[in-house]
């Protein structure tokens, strides 16, 4: 199960990368980027997964020396942060796209080569 999930995550990462490199429309690039991000998030979550364990929400304080059968809470916490960061970056990218579109009335990346060499 976890292998499938992590594979999906990895596949999304690769797909995202391919999209970023291949797409010419800025919006599509951003979508590819979110795919990429999502893929990573999936991988992160699945890293913390432990077979047959429950969510890291405890009903009671565990007795000393015993470990409750839960999945690793750390990747989940991390992925929370990662998602928010991804959100911020995506929002920022969209802002940029808005500005770029205002500037050139186009979303084709080939029109944005003013800076080179």
């Amino acid at each position: 199960m976890e292998y499938i999930i992590i594979s999906i995550g990895f596949a999304l990462v690769l797909l995202g990368l391919y999209g970023i490199m291949y797409m010419r429309n800025l919006m599509r690039i951003i979508i590819a980027f979110t795919l990429f991000n999502t893929g990573i998030n999936i991988v992160m979550v699945s890293i913390g997964y432990i077979r047959n364990a429950s969510a890291p929400i405890l009903d009671a304080i565990p007795a000393a020396g015993t470990t409750p059968n839960i999945v690793d809470p750390v990747p989940q916490a991390l992925v929370l942060t990662a998602i928010v960061i991804g959100l911020g970056v995506t929002a920022l990218m969209l802002t940029y796209v808005v500005k770029l579109h205002q500037d050139k009335k186009s979303l084709d990346i080939n029109n944005f080569k003013d800076l080179k060499w």
Partner: protein, 1044 residues
């Protein structure tokens, strides 16, 4: 002490609060911003001070009340203190600089700015991997926001590229972190280091991803197009911060996480650093947009830092000093440069000529550039020194070469830039409108470079011996630059004389140093005295001239290699500024400084080898190089030969000396070149006579010297420009000196000394006189002169005596050199080199005659009819020198005999013995005094005889000549000067075909072509930049883990 955590609290609290005050209290947000940054600076400054005074040790700051690895912890140590301090200072100064911009564009920018600075503080301090990631993201998002400040299409594009690239990088970083976590079960960096992830096959991919992400954050070549665009398009105030602080923080972060990967990976970091350093600088050579150029340079510097980080195993405990020396120089210089760029708002580095409208800015600009290159007294100089020395103790020659090559390439564009700023026409450029808040940050950065330079000096071995007194005097002269020439001149001469008196007791036992002290400082007095002929204030001349002389004296005084090299670089800098003062000197000063830097780096490497062999930085280490001695000696010799302008390395000289000002030419020709001679003498004395490692080198140098004289003299004969002719003559004369030294016998050295002394005197005379004439006549071209003997008889006599000396005609002192040479070459057995030397000596007559005939004899031109004698301020010193020549000619024994005795201990070869006024060798004899008497008597008798025979000669005018029964039409058509040796050129001109110039031209064209070709990878397309990043990752992966 205030805890570093408050840096975060203050920054974020203020940022949040700004929204609260909103529009109601708009005015206050600016003050809040400054206050907040000041507070952050204070906190980190306080820690830094505590560390500097050793009152604290490295402190861990825990959050949430739990110990790591369970919670995030920050660390405040010496390194963190320095970095947070410089980041915050840059933030404070940057905010000061952008104060108006900020208040115009609303409070959001201020918030973003605060968070931006804060995030870098945290990235430096945090010891948690994921936290590092979070704040890196904050940093890059804030930066993307700040880029928007420019509100231009280009800025949007740059920001977009930046976002996408960093997005991919951070995604990969995240992958790496999570897998590292999965392997180690911790997110704490120190724990991860303990886990030795890099060595385990399975976890090495995670390490790879982390490492490559942090490397990519540093914008390695070639995956750095997005970074460059940010530099180009961002507001220069932001560019300054990106270059100064983001790069610093990024480097430190890499330094922090590198141990996770382990030492196996360091090598690759260095490799990427080298690629970046060289590649980025190489492409910078084709760049004309100032901000982008600065971007290339920044990336290059970061590459250098990556090299250093990667080599930290070799560098050991010196890593910190070296890295910080380079980092801080880069930091201050880049920030200052970006800020200056913001003031100028120029799109082309050629427009930086507008800097001349504000001398202070120009001064600061120069300071920054020299700090970047690594000139003394800036910290980067000492850092580079330590870097090279330490690397060479480890035998890392290739790294030394890479670093020096990269630095040299950096010099190519930086000095082109400086030249443009110093020389290009700025009449049509707009004048500068500078507010105090823009000026203060630049001043702070500029001054801090000097202060830091002096501060770190004692940290280097032997550094405490470096003498800063002359530099202080120069600083005073800078301050007094508004005074008129005669006051400054008197002060300068006074300073030089005072220093001479001060110096003399210290070199009392060392005749060689005494001779060079007289040449350098006596020459200084003489050439400076000629400066009285100038009017006005002559801005900038005196500090630079004194800088050069200070460097020269420093070389004499130096007891250690660092002292020597320090002075050597000072001299180079001073002389560069002197040379570039000429009207058309820009390209020549440029090639001068490039050759000088290359030479200096060769010397540096040579010193490195010497240091590496002995672990001793004293000059005496040169005498005992066990590690690659031949290479070391060759490098040192080549380094010194760039100053003596030996064949192959001479192409800078004609232009540089020819186009310089009239009293600068003698300084750089008669005096400056002797620095190279002094260096060679030192080197050869340390090499010793029977050093098996240097035999071949000396043999080659002998040939080089001989061919230099031949080519120099022959080129001089075909010159039409009077000062260039003299310049080529200098090349040739220094060829003699080099040849004599390479002979490595008592007599060869005597000859070299004789030539050195003579060349000092006659070339001073010639350049002073010809320089004065060139100024008066308003032309360099000899064929436009003529007939000056009637207008300037005293100049004529001076030149006549000089050329008799150059020609080696008895009875004047030039013959002494020739005579010694004949003896030396027969003794040494270098017959063919000797024959070439003498062939060249006779060719000298061609240019000597051309010079004196074209200028003084022949037909007087119409527009020179009212000429009068050149200034007595020039002739005065000249006649002092002529008296010197006469004394040396009549009583050579008083000079040569002590020199001989000084040389005796060094050589066991045939010596020159003296019997009163007569010199003996095994082969022959020579009596200067008697010759003088005999020739003088006979000459007077013959002259008397001729006068008695023809008393009544009618004085006639210039056209009273027989002209095939016709009469001349114009003086111009009657003056034979242009291409006077046409037949000779036809026969032997092929020998001086500009092959060497063409060679260097081809080399530079090739470099520029490669750069132009390479930089096409930066096609401007977002996708291409993404591709570069991915290519970089994949290739790096294939090389490291894939085992390619």
């Amino acid at each position: 002490m205030v805890g570093p955590i408050y840096i975060i609290a203050i920054a974020l609290g203020l940022a949040f609060a700004m929204g609260l005050f909103g529009k109601a209290l708009k005015g206050i947000t600016g003050a809040l911003l400054m206050l907040g940054l000041a507070a952050m600076t204070f906190i980190s400054g306080q820690w830094l001070w505590a560390f500097l005074t050793d009152s604290v040790t490295t402190t861990q700051i825990f959050t949430a009340g739990f110990k790591p690895p369970y919670s995030i912890n920050l660390q405040m140590g010496m390194e963190e203190a320095i970095l947070t301090f410089i980041i915050n200072v840059a933030g404070l100064l940057g905010a000061t600089y952008m104060y108006q911009t900020f208040s115009k564009k609303g409070e959001q920018l201020k918030m973003i700015f605060l968070v931006f600075i804060m995030s870098m503080n945290v990235t430096v301090m945090t010891r948690d991997m994921f936290n590092l990631f979070v704040f890196l993201e904050i940093e890059s998002i804030a930066l993307a926001g700040l880029v928007l400040m420019s509100n231009t299409g280009k800025a949007f594009q740059a920001g977009m590229k930046y976002l996408i690239a960093t997005g991919i990088i951070s995604g990969l970083l995240l992958l790496g972190i999570i897998f590292a976590y999965s392997f180690t079960g911790t997110l704490n960096i120190d724990d991860m280091i303990g886990a030795h992830l890099g060595t385990i096959k399975a976890s090495s991919v995670a390490v790879f991803l982390i490492l490559v992400a942090f490397i990519l954050e540093l914008k390695p070549f070639p995956a750095n197009g997005w970074g460059l665009d940010v530099y180009t398009a961002a507001h220069p105030g932001i560019g300054a911060l990106v270059s100064a602080t983001v790069a610093s923080a990024g480097v430190y972060v890499l330094y922090k996480v590198m141990p996770i990967a382990g030492q196996e990976w360091y090598y690759y970091v260095s490799l990427i650093g080298a690629l970046t350093f060289v590649g980025s600088n190489l492409m910078g050579t084709r760049q004309n947009t100032p901000n982008r150029l600065l971007g290339y340079s920044s990336i290059g510097q970061v590459g250098l830092l990556m090299i250093i980080l990667g080599l930290q195993d070799y560098l050991g405990d010196k890593t910190a000093f070296i890295a910080f020396g380079i980092l801080i120089s880069h930091y201050a210089a880049k920030a200052g440069l970006f800020w200056i760029s913001g003031i100028l708002k120029a799109n082309d580095i050629k427009d930086w000529a507008a800097l001349r409208k504000n001398p202070f800015l120009l001064f600061l600009f120069g300071t920054f550039l020299f700090a970047l290159i690594g000139f003394p007294p800036f910290p980067s100089f000492f850092a580079k020194w330590e870097l090279i020395m330490t690397l060479s103790t480890q035998g890392q020659l290739v790294w030394i070469a890479v670093i020096l090559v990269g630095s040299f390439i950096e010099g190519i564009y930086l000095f082109r830039w400086l030249g443009y700023a110093l020389k290009l026409d700025h009449s049509e450029l707009p004048s500068l409108n500078i507010t105090w808040n823009k000026m203060i940050p630049i001043w702070v950065m500029g001054m801090s470079l000097y202060v830091l330079g002096v501060y770190v000096t004692p940290m280097v071995e032997f550094g405490r011996y470096i003498n800063y007194i002359p530099l202080l005097f120069i600083l005073v002269m800078f301050a007094l630059d508004f005074l008129p020439v005669y006051i400054k001149n008197t002060l300068s001469i006074g300073g030089v004389v005072w220093y001479m008196i001060d110096l003399w007791p210290r070199i009392e036992d060392d005749l060689m140093r005494q001779i060079f002290a007289v040449i350098f400082l006596g020459g200084a007095v003489i050439t400076l005295a000629a400066g009285y002929s100038k009017k006005g204030t002559r801005k900038g001349f005196y500090p630079m001239a004194l800088l050069m002389f200070a460097g020269l004296v420093g070389i004499i005084e130096a007891s250690s290699m660092i002292d020597f090299f320090f002075s050597w670089e000072l001299m180079t800098a001073g002389s560069y500024f002197l040379i570039i003062r000429g009207k058309r000197s820009m390209p020549h000063a440029y090639s001068y400084i490039l050759f000088s830097i290359a030479g200096a780096y060769a010397i540096l490497m040579g010193f490195g080898l010497a240091y590496g062999s002995n672990l001793d930085a004293g000059l005496t280490a040169l005498g005992n190089i066990s590690f690659l001695p031949t290479l070391a000696y060759s490098l040192l010799a080549v380094g010194f030969m760039t100053k003596t302008a030996s064949l192959g390395l001479h192409i800078w000289l004609p232009g540089a000396h020819g186009e310089a000002e009239s009293d600068v030419s003698p300084m750089v020709s008669a005096i400056l070149l002797k620095a190279g001679v002094f260096g060679l003498m030192l080197l050869f004395l340390f090499i010793g006579t029977d050093n098996p490692n240097a035999t071949k080198l000396l043999y080659v140098l002998g040939w080089v010297g001989a061919l230099t004289t031949l080519v120099g003299n022959m080129s001089a004969a075909f010159q039409e420009d009077a000062k260039r002719l003299l310049a080529y003559s200098s090349i040739a004369q220094l060829g003699y000196v080099l040849f004599g030294l390479a002979i490595m016998t008592h007599m060869g050295w005597m000859a070299s000394f004789t030539y050195t002394i003579n060349h000092f005197m006659f070339k001073s005379i010639l350049f002073l006189v010809i320089g004065g004439i060139v100024v008066k006549l308003g032309t360099h071209n000899m064929f436009e002169m003529g007939g000056m003997i009637k207008k300037m008889p005293f100049s004529f006599i001076a030149v006549l005596i000089s050329i008799i000396v150059i020609g080696g005609i008895p009875p004047l002192s030039g013959f002494a050199g020739k005579w010694l040479f004949y003896n030396a070459i027969i003794e040494k057995g270098w017959y063919f080199q000797g024959a070439i030397i003498f062939f060249a000596g006779i060719i000298a007559f061609l240019y000597l005659y051309k010079l004196i005939h074209s200028v003084f004899l022949g037909q007087l031109k119409d527009n020179h009819r009212n000429m009068t004698e050149i200034s007595w301020w020039i002739l005065g010193p000249v006649y002092v020198l002529i008296i010197g020549i006469m004394i040396f000619s009549a009583f050579p024994q008083y000079v040569l005999q002590p020199i001989g005795e000084m040389l005796n201990p060094y050589f066991n070869t045939e010596i020159v013995s003296w019997e009163g006024t007569k010199a003996f060798t095994k082969l022959g004899y020579w009596d200067g005094t008697t010759i003088m008497i005999v020739v003088g008597t006979a000459f007077v008798l013959l002259l008397g005889w001729l006068i008695s025979l023809s008393r009544k000669a009618q004085k006639v005018k210039q056209f009273n000549i027989v002209y095939a029964a016709e009469r001349p039409f114009r003086p111009e058509t009657t003056h034979v000067s242009y291409n006077i040796y046409a037949g000779y050129k036809k026969a032997l001109g092929f020998l001086v075909a500009p092959g060497i110039t063409n060679f260097w031209n081809t080399v530079s064209d090739m470099v520029l072509d490669i750069a132009g070709w390479l930089r096409r990878i930066y096609s401007g397309s977002i996708q291409n930049y993404t591709l570069h990043v991915i290519v970089f990752i994949v290739v790096f992966y294939l090389i490291t883990i894939g085992g390619l």
